[in-house]
């Protein structure tokens, strides 16, 4: 069982959201999380002045699956068809640290005390990194909902926040999940529909072109950023092994050179820590940013899809009306349908426009914040590395 508490680094951790908690009437954050075997329990903390809530401040434990349930109920709500639905947080992935823990357990007998302690330390650092990521992404999801004028009033959202017992009874059962799966399949086929539909509105035409292109580009950038981060981690790992090997060699050498080797081993150990920090900061600021917006872009595309569907429905209802008029049957019904379809389409277009505009603003601000923070961290780490190296060079020279 491992737990973390958010410290004052909250600001830095919550990088993707950008001040989503600036409305004091409903403030949500995740100060704590517990990892029990396969399950992660998040502690949701709520502070609110909204009267519909029973208490002004309270906490509630939730699992990842609860978040998914909440997301899916929102997706399936007709009324929200014209809104960009905040992307669901991905499942917490502790595979990496878990593998390492396994290796540590297996190799315990063959390692020296120092090696074991070092590996344990690395393991804890990795756990912490995964924790930070997953807490951030779950927190942002809730904050997107709480800061949106419409979502914050959602009934299920309130239940999620307040219901003081296990939510599992309300969660999706297998049948519903299957339905969801189909929906996704059909949706991707309808990407063709989006591109195919004749667009009259200039704004949406532009958005469509942009989103389709941007979506594939950002997906690619995310994948490449992930690879780059992984390479950084590999280099840090190698520094670790080199440090260990240098220490072994130092154990056998004559006095003057022994100090030299030990100092070098020390430098590599410190470089490893720095390189690790560079890698994890890059991941948090760059890779996570790209990952998040890949999902968000998908949510925006989903909105376009729903609108395109609505347009197709409207056009179908027009055709049906014409047919009905021809046949002279059920004209009133057909007229009613046509009116409803048009209403729906107009509503989607109107809210869609608003959503997409604010989406762009949100995206630009998030990129700016993260790029600045990432750059500042890179500079900081490079300066630390340099002073470490120069210090070591001085010491070795004076020997």
């Amino acid at each position: 069982m491992t737990s973390i508490s958010e410290d004052s680094d909250k600001e830095k951790v919550r990088s993707v959201s950008v001040d989503l908690n600036n409305d004091a009437s409903l403030i949500i954050d995740i100060p704590d999380a517990l990892c029990e075997r396969d399950k992660v329990k998040f502690t949701i903390h709520v502070k609110t002045t909204i009267s519909s809530f029973q208490k002004p401040a309270f906490s509630v434990p939730r699992q990842h699956e609860d978040f998914i349930w909440l997301h899916d109920t929102i997706v399936e709500t007709e009324e929200y068809a014209g809104l960009i639905i905040p992307p669901a947080p991905p499942k917490p992935d502790f595979e990496g640290p878990r593998e390492k823990m396994h290796k540590l357990g297996e190799g315990e007998s063959s390692m020296t005390k120092e090696e074991y302690a070092k590996m344990k330390q690395e393991l804890e650092a990795e756990y912490l990194a995964v924790f930070k990521k997953t807490v951030q992404v779950h927190e942002v999801f809730l904050q997107r909902l709480s800061s949106h004028p419409i979502f914050r009033k959602d009934r299920n959202f309130q239940i999620f926040l307040e219901y003081d017992q296990d939510l599992s009874v309300r969660r999706k059962n297998a049948k519903e999940m299957f339905g969801g799966f189909f929906k996704n399949m059909v949706k991707s086929a309808d990407e063709v529909l989006i591109s195919g539909v004749k667009e009259v509105d200039e704004f949406f035409e532009q958005e469509k072109t942009f989103l389709l292109d941007y979506s594939s580009k950002i997906k690619d950038a995310t994948a490449k950023a992930e690879k780059m981060t992984r390479s950084h981690k590999n280099v840090a790992d190698d520094y670790n092994h080199i440090s260990g090997a240098l220490n072994h060699t130092a154990a056998d050498n004559n006095t003057a050179f022994k100090k030299h080797l030990e100092k070098s081993a020390e430098v590599f150990e410190k470089l490893r820590k720095l390189e690790d920090r560079v890698a994890s900061d890059q991941e948090l600021k760059l890779t996570e940013l790209l990952r998040y917006y890949t999902r968000d872009i998908q949510a925006a595309k989903d909105l376009l899809y729903r609108r395109a569907r609505a347009l197709a429905d409207y056009e179908n209802s027009n055709k049906a009306l014409d047919k009905a008029r021809l046949k002279g049957k059920d004209i009133a019904q057909a007229e009613e349908n046509q009116k409803k379809s048009l209403q729906k389409f107009d509503k989607l277009s109107e809210s869609g426009k608003k959503e997409l505009t604010s989406f762009k603003a949100r995206r630009v601000v998030a990129f700016r914040k993260n790029l600045i923070e990432m750059t500042e961290l890179e500079i900081k780490h490079a300066k630390n590395s340099m002073s470490l190296l120069q210090g070591t060079i001085e010491i070795l020279n004076s020997n």
Partner: protein
Amino acid sequence: MSEERGSSAQTEEDEDLFVSAMESPEAARLSAEDLSPSSNGPRDDDPDDLFAEATEEVSLDSPERQPILSDGPSPAITPVSISPRVDVFDRSPDLDEEEEENRDTFDIQISVSDPEKVGDGMNAFMIYKVTTKTSLSIFSRDEVCVKRRFSDFLGLHSKLASKYMHMGFIVPPAPEKSIVGMTKVKVGKEDLSSVEFVEKRRSALERYLLRTVKHPALLKDPDVLQFLESSELPRAVSTQALSGAGILRMVNKAADAVNKMTIKMNESDAWFEEKQQQFENLDVQLRKLHVSVESLVCHRKELSVNTALFAKSAAMLGNSEDHTALSRALSQLAEVEEKIEQLHQEQANADFYLISELLGDYVRLITAVRGVFDQRMKAWGKWQDAQLMLQRKREAEAKLQYASKPEKLQQARDEIREWEGKVQQGERDFEQISRNIRREVGQFEKERVKDFRVVIMKYLESLVHSQQQLIKYWEAFLPEAKAIA
């Protein structure tokens, strides 16, 4: 004879100095000041003098030694020609000082450059230009350029090994053959991996020559001089694996391995036992370190490639981005990452050429050092065998005493004298090789420490440079990121 005894007396005296040097380098530094005027000043040059003496002894003993101790075919053993060389370094103090100065500045620069492919297909080979710049008197010119191919280097090493290894000299090993690497080059693939291979080999050949001439005895060796100076060199076919010489080498290697297992040496000298253990440990440690560094080189190259891929992807994303300021920032980010990719590539090269290759060289050198210890064991074995044979001859003579066969008795007595001589020679050789090894190992340890010190420093400086560049690039990007509005 008296000359010989005199010089061995001096050797013993210097040897004691060396023993104390082994125990505590700091103490040795102090004792250097205490040196008597008959030996020379700075401690560094003791081994140099001693080496010269060693070659002197070789020339005096040479005719007998060849059949007993040489290691396989030795096409160019010219012990006689060594003595005129030795005359150059006579014992007069003035010359010693001049030589000391030369040694102090080590005024010889060798570079291997301009690899050129000659021929086509599977018969093709690379030619390298070897340039020697020196003011040392043993060379006929200040600057010499010759063309050599890889097998020439191998041939040189083979000659030096067969001449000096059995005396306990640590002969620097030649770079390794590589069938895969060379085949690619021969076949004419102009890709990155064959270019890298040729550069790797060129650098290795250069380091090999530099190490060889650092050894004072090898520097004066006629084969080395011929290699560096003469424009035509007889083709070293004996280096080919399947040549007659090659097969003989393999047979000898196998025989040596068997001997190693069967000779149980009574080690009376703790120094040798300690050192052997030390080198065994060092072997293991350096190999492990080498593996880790090779992994680092590989991963850093990967990092470079992945950074480049990300840069391209970021550029595409920037192009796609419809918000102008963000688009520009993303393009700038792509440019920064491209520059960083270059940095990683350079650092990977530093990782490789500074550290990885050095470690590889030392792993091979240590094998040569351990080989020299094995040679000593062989010498001991031969001495013991001679003693056994002498004993047998004595027993045979004793038996013949009562057999009244005068001619046979005389023959037995002659044989006894012969084997007495051989026993004495065996003992002398064993002691000689032991002395040589102590010297060689001392020199080797000094060189090793110096090499590693220098390399670690250079490497740290390369890392500093990388970090400086990183700071520069990111500081230039920061305003761009802030400019997103």
